[in-house]
Symmetry: C2
Subunit: 135 residues, 2 copies
């Protein structure tokens, strides 16, 4: 499976403005059990630096931009999230980092599971070990 | 039941910035089947002007602000949505209007049902008739 799976959402734009809708189990390929947003990120701060054992997510910058790194233990890709109509699908066992947040960035994340601290892998070496034992 | 039901979300704020998480069937009192966001709204444009027969929503401005009107056919309330940590719960059979969008406004809405045009009531007089026949 490709590491980078972008999801394009139609912009239901009219003379009033823009509207983007994401539907669970349709454009978003899972039940949406949790929604969170990251904003007011301080200058020169990076976030993330973790993977999850059992968690799928779709991430989209609804305003502003940030640079995301995804890593499946074999490949690492860096790309800009800078478009409210394009999300990225983050599968289980994917290391993620977010860098270079613009001042106005609001990063919206839809998640397939409730928050569970025990599902986090916060150590990169441990992540690589888990990926190897999993394959 | 009160017309205005605000939901306060904790700000998981640290020295990196802010993070707000909304959990289905916990802080958000329904399954999240759909998520949409309204942005790039043109100056002096109002949106909404409809009710729904079977749809619960939580609305929150993740950035910027707008003024929302909610009307249950008996009472009408106007208030500002201007805080990323405070949403408003919109029940079935509630007329809603959104006014005075700031340029930077991103209005995020979590919805209990998939998009269904047949669930909309777009005429205020019809809405009042439906409310009366429902009670
Ligand atoms: C994503 C999320 C985080 N949190 C908490 C866990 C951490 O203490 C803090 C930051 O979460 P974390 O996942 O470490 O943020 P990031 O991936 O951006 O680095 O917020 C929740 O309580 N619920 C959530 O849904
Ligand atoms: C909310 C929503 C709207 N739409 C379409 C229906 C309309 O043609 C257009 C605008 O929706 P509408 O609900 O009328 O927007 P507002 O409440 O802000 O006035 O987008 C979808 O396709 N899916 C959705 O989830």
């Amino acid at each position: 499976m490709s590491l980078l799976q972008f999801v394009n959402f139609p912009n239901l734009c009219d003379d009033r403005g823009s509207l983007v809708a994401l539907e669970a189990n349709k454009t978003v390929p899972f039940d949406i059990k949790r929604v969170y947003y990251i904003f007011g990120t301080q200058k020169d701060v990076a976030r993330g630096y973790h993977a999850h054992i059992n968690l799928k997510q779709v991430a989209v910058c609804v305003t502003g931009k940030c640079r995301m790194i995804l890593d499946n233990g074999h490949n690492r890709e860096s790309f800009w999230l800078d478009n409210a109509t394009q999300g990225v699908l983050i599968e289980d066992l994917t290391w993620r980092e977010m860098h270079d947040f613009s001042d106005d960035c609001v990063l919206l994340v839809l998640a397939s599971e409730h928050y569970d601290e025990t599902d986090y892998i916060r150590n990169y070496e441990e992540f690589v070990r888990v990926v190897k034992s999993d394959s």
